[in-house]
């Protein structure tokens, strides 16, 4: 991939009825960089991630994500290269983990791994026939990580990455981020666990008052 930054947005503002979510966000993620994003509850981290994922159009601001200008139809073409894990798992509750992952890999243009191999890699090889509704939160998170192994995104967006994870599973986060960085992609990791995040990202910023500030050391 080229050396253009993975994320390069300036002046991003988002207004919702009765609230200004983001005021003036400047954010740059270089190729091969992982960025930690902190912020108090309700400061707009999730919304910012959804803007970077091209799922939300900002009210103001410009820039590019994976080279595509945000807020234009052109941005749709890079969507398959973006991986987003939100706080709720994107799983069909009545399908098994196997079936959920198989769905992803059959919709994916170029799956990097089979569904069962990905599940085995995150330690869910024995739970593939269990329905998502019957899995614990931590297991569902692991299944989401398996999805990232299948889709191999160039921009990895992790929301509340460490919630509900045991130490082994946080190793998976480290692996995923390391992999995307090694590929020359970028990652934005939202978390409240600053110590754990510090180990996997090169740089951290804080979202506060609708702006991005450098993280205090």
């Amino acid at each position: 991939m080229s050396d253009a930054p993975v994320v390069d947005v300036t002046g991003v503002a988002l207004r919702r009825p009765n609230a200004l979510i983001l005021r003036d966000v400047d954010l740059r993620v270089e190729c091969g960089e992982a960025l930690g994003l902190f912020g108090a509850n309700g400061s707009g981290k999730t919304t910012l991630l959804r803007i970077l994922a091209t799922l939300v159009r900002p009210t103001e601001g410009a820039g590019t994500v994976l080279g595509a200008p945000i807020g234009t139809p052109h941005a749709e073409s890079v969507r398959p290269r973006i991986g987003l894990i939100g706080h709720e798992a994107a799983l069909y509750p009545n399908l098994t983990l196997d079936e959920n992952l198989a769905l992803v890999s059959s919709l994916c243009i170029r799956p990097a791994m089979t569904a069962s191999a990905a599940l085995a890699a995150v330690g869910l090889g024995g739970a593939g026939r269990r329905r998502a509704a019957h899995c614990s939160n931590g297991m569902r998170r692991r299944a989401e990580f398996a999805r990232m192994l299948v889709t191999q995104p160039d921009l990895l967006l992790l929301d509340e990455a460490h919630v509900g994870l045991d130490p082994e599973a946080s190793g998976i986060v480290q692996h995923l981020v390391g992999e995307v960085v090694a590929r020359g992609g970028g990652a934005v990791v939202v978390s409240h666990e600053r110590e754990r995040v510090a180990r996997i990202v090169a740089r951290s910023v804080v979202l506060s008052d609708g702006r991005i500030e450098p993280a205090p050391r």
């Binding site: 009825p17 979510i21 983001l22 005021r23 309700g42 400061s43």
Partner: protein
């Protein structure tokens, strides 16, 4: 034409139409009950016009993304539901003494009732959605779906009840209505249409004010997260 001119004109025309409607001689067949037609026919006409304008506003909004058209669609629907309701109510009131029943399963009645409920659903949808852009998109989609369906509703209802006597006014070669009565009817249609225009303008202005209240920037605006501060218990800030 300024807003004021339209409003004053509408007010004046309504008063004239009211007076003319009561002053013209009674109809040869229907007697004084004919006077109900001077409010019923224009209301029914506006029910259709308002729906047409809502459809146009929805289509142009989706094509251009200009919120003005969405406000036109919404305003026209709200004013339209008022006139559709009036058309139904006056139809019932006319039907009771003439036919002996409030309601009959006449094709036009059923169609008007269906439109009334489509309007109500449209307005309920608008009320349910927060945010001008989101509301505009969703209601425009419903406005277009409804507009596509209305002709089908029309034909299916007409076929269902069999064809009815066509309107008697619009045949200049064979006027079946006395000139003074025709004048009263046309005056009423004119006055009601002007009133519709004035009301839609008012409603659009109100919509603009409401949107700027909820969506526009404010000097003391709170940014998301400002509402959340360090907790008072549990050792405070980490």
């Amino acid at each position: 034409m300024t807003k004021r001119t339209v409003e004053i004109g509408a007010f004046g025309a309504m008063i004239i139409a009211f007076a003319v409607g009561l002053a013209v001689p009674p109809d040869a067949v229907q007697g004084d009950l004919q006077r109900i037609m001077y409010v019923h026919v224009p209301s029914a006409w506006l029910a259709y016009l308002a729906f047409g304008i809502t459809m146009i506003g929805s289509v142009v909004y989706l094509a251009t993304g200009n919120l003005r058209w969405d406000r036109l669609a919404g305003a026209s629907a709200e004013v339209g539901v008022v006139f559709t309701g009036l058309a139904l109510a006056t139809g019932l009131i006319w039907g009771k003494p003439v036919w002996g029943v409030w309601w009959t399963w006449d094709a036009r009645l059923v169609l008007t009732a269906a439109m009334f409920f489509v309007y109500l659903a449209y307005l309920a949808l608008r009320r349910g959605v927060d945010g001008a852009d989101r509301r505009a998109k969703r209601s425009a989609v419903f406005g277009i779906v409804a507009a596509l369906q209305i002709p089908v509703v029309h034909f299916s209802v007409v076929w269902w009840r069999g064809l009815h006597q066509p309107p008697t006014v619009l045949r200049p070669d064979n006027p079946q209505i006395d000139p003074p009565l025709l004048f009263a009817l046309l005056m009423a249609v004119f006055a009601f249409t002007l009133a519709y225009a004035a009301l839609v303008r008012r409603r659009m202005a109100l919509a603009t004010a409401e949107d700027s209240l909820t969506d526009a920037p404010r000097p003391d605006e709170q940014v998301a997260g400002a509402a959340v501060s360090a907790p008072q218990i549990g050792g405070g800030r980490r």
